[in-house]
């Protein structure tokens, strides 16, 4: 079977492969394959136009070398983008566990820690403080209402109050985790 690939395509691919010498094999193979699939099937004139758009193989190779040397691996991205991550995680653990083990005091310690952590925005921190107060007022009102109606269940309403801090901790953890525990404040 006769190879119908235009000579300019064959020459360009050969030069590209040559210029990419020293680039990581996987990247080199991807570039050559990507360019080849773009040029194969074109006639000489169309290939010439496409080669002009692709540019000098030496320039492509230089760009590939530069880019390959600047990428950050996943671990370094995580390390650099999440300072204080451990402290932030500890803050929500204290908020959740502390509020269960040592009611109220544990929650306050957890909230103070959350406020000093860097994984949440100011608004989230303010909400973390005000939400329990609002819920406490609502629970108190509900308790009074149930008591006035002489209906059992007012103690259950109080128990709901104890769940606020653990739930709040879980919500904060989910939000921070969604952002990769990156610095927000």
């Amino acid at each position: 079977m006769t190879d119908t690939t235009p000579k300019n395509v064959t020459a360009y691919l050969a030069e590209l492969e040559n210029e990419l010498d020293g680039v990581a094999p996987e990247v080199r193979n991807d570039i050559v394959a990507g360019v080849r699939e773009e040029l194969l099937g074109l006639d000489a004139a169309a290939a010439h136009a496409r080669i002009s758009e692709l540019g000098d193989p030496a320039f492509i190779a230089a760009e590939a070398r530069t880019e390959a040397g600047t990428g950050m691996d996943e671990a370094s991205v995580e390390r650099e983008s999440a300072p204080g991550r451990a402290s932030s995680i500890a803050a929500v653990v204290v908020l959740v566990a502390g509020s269960i083990v040592v009611p109220f005091v544990g929650a306050i310690v957890g909230l103070v820690w959350v406020s000093s952590a860097r994984a949440w925005t100011r608004r989230e921190k303010a909400t973390a403080w005000f939400a329990p107060i609002v819920i406490a007022v609502l629970v108190f009102a509900l308790s009074l209402l149930l008591a006035s109606l002489q209906t059992t269940g007012s103690h259950v309403a109080v128990l709901v109050g104890y769940l606020v801090f653990p739930i709040e901790g879980v919500v904060l953890a989910v939000r921070a985790r969604h952002r990769g525990w990156r610095v927000c404040a």
């Binding site: 990507g34 699939e37 540019g55 760009e63 590939a64 880019e67």
Partner: protein
């Protein structure tokens, strides 16, 4: 010494631009390269493939071969669920980040 501010900025966001393009539809290398070169985000196809390689290594994008009716078999790239999550996380950061920089840098009054 002249510092190419644009180049520094592009380096920080070009991976997310690739993820953004792939979110719309799976694309092959030349397609991606054309869009990014036109937008001034990369200088050549040589910049693109190391980025695609990193995205695949990190599990943010994946590749598959697909034969076209008229043309050759092409390697298409598409976003993975992890890539979608990463892109969403970037979007959450980008707005506040640019707003903060704008506040600090201010506008050119000249």
């Amino acid at each position: 010494m002249t510092v190419d501010v644009g180049a520094q900025l592009r380096k920080g966001v070009v991976e997310y631009c690739v993820l953004g393009l792939l979110e719309g539809e799976p694309m092959y290398g030349w397609q991606l390269s054309e869009r990014l070169v036109q937008a001034g985000m990369i200088a050549s196809i040589g910049t693109l493939y190391p980025i695609l390689s990193r995205l695949r290594t990190q599990g943010l994008a994946t590749a598959y071969d697909e034969a076209s009716a008229a043309g050759p078999v092409r390697k298409y790239y598409r976003l993975t669920p992890a890539g979608t999550t990463r892109l969403e996380a970037f979007r959450l950061q980008w707005g506040p980040f640019t707003a903060t920089v704008h506040r600090l840098v201010g506008e050119d009054d000249s």
